[in-house]
């Protein structure tokens, strides 16, 4: 029940992001959205993801967005395109995806294909092979350590990108 409430609040917050004009309010709403998402993740048993979403999504993202707002100002002049094409694209894609939903394995079913492939092996082996109780950490840092190395490379590249973008900064407008 709490889960359904959180999901409905997520929907409300996203609608708020869509409709609100003031960018400061939009940024705060996006922080709330991330926090609600972290709560949902906790209910769905993904505690590690919830930690990360709360710290990185609700924390760092919001701080970065606020820092950017400090430079660019917080008014959205509301020049939306009002064309028919975006609505058509979004509705069409949404209807097609929802049409596919009944074909998904039932929510929470232990027999879904995702649960019978390699996951049981990871869960079973982790205490004896890796020697730590947390399976997510074991997969992240050991079984799929190269993935994590790739992730770190992406962050490093993004850091260099941001530094380069600010390196030759000349202000034409104040």
């Amino acid at each position: 029940m709490i889960g359904i409430g959180l999901l409905l609040f997520l929907l409300l917050t996203a609608t708020g992001i869509l409709l609100v004009r003031n960018l400061f309010a939009v940024v705060i709403l996006s922080g709330i959205y991330s926090l609600l998402m972290a709560g949902t993740f906790t209910i769905l048993d993904a505690v590690d993801v919830a930690f990360t979403e709360a710290a990185v999504g609700a924390g760092i993202s919001t701080v970065l967005l606020l820092a950017a707002l400090g430079v660019v100002g917080q008014e959205d002049r509301g020049r939306n395109r009002r064309a028919l094409i975006p609505i058509a694209v979004v509705v069409l894609a949404g209807v097609m995806l929802i049409y596919a939903v009944p074909e998904m394995p039932p929510f929470g079913s232990p027999e879904a294909p995702i649960h019978v492939h390699v996951a049981p092996q990871y869960i079973e082996e982790t205490p004896s092979v890796i020697g730590i109780p947390n399976v997510v950490t074991a997969v992240l840092a050991d079984y799929r350590g190269f993935d994590t190395l790739g992730e770190v490379t992406v962050i490093f590249t993004a850091g260099i990108g941001v530094l380069l973008l600010f390196a030759g900064r000349r202000r034409k407008y104040k």
């Binding site: 760092i60 959205d76 064309a83 939903v101 079913s109 600010f166």
Partner: protein, 121 residues
């Protein structure tokens, strides 16, 4: 299974469509980035929902508690969240540079300024 039984998936799809709409229709660049964030998070919700098992617990071994929810989507999404912030920071840096160069972060005003100065420059 009915659509209602897969409520989480329906919400994830609705959220992603709201995010996509903000991303392609709103003219303000900051708002576009927030829309991208909503879009991303909705995909995270889809993945994590797929990993849930009824009566499952977080995948941490402790005195024989079982069953565990699937840890693999959690690992993928942990990576994706961090990469999402990296994308966001580069995007925001670009927005700030655009604002430096054009004095505005509204897409149509930028396009108008480009058209005035000869298009291809």
């Amino acid at each position: 299974m009915s659509v209602l039984g897969n409520f989480n998936y329906v919400i994830a799809i609705t959220l992603s469509m709201i995010g996509l709409y903000v991303l392609i229709e709103r003219g303000n660049l900051i708002k576009k980035l927030v829309g991208l964030n909503v879009f991303q998070s909705s995909v995270f919700l889809l993945y994590i929902s797929m990993g849930k098992i009824d009566g499952g617990t977080p995948p941490i071994h402790y005195e024989g508690i079982a069953p565990f929810s699937n840890p693999l989507p959690h690992v993928l999404i942990l990576t994706a969240i961090v990469v999402g912030v990296a994308t966001l920071s580069v995007g925001l840096a670009l927005v700030i540079r655009i604002r430096d160069a054009y004095g505005t972060i509204e897409e149509d005003e930028i396009q108008a300024l480009d058209a005035e100065s000869g298009g291809t420059e």
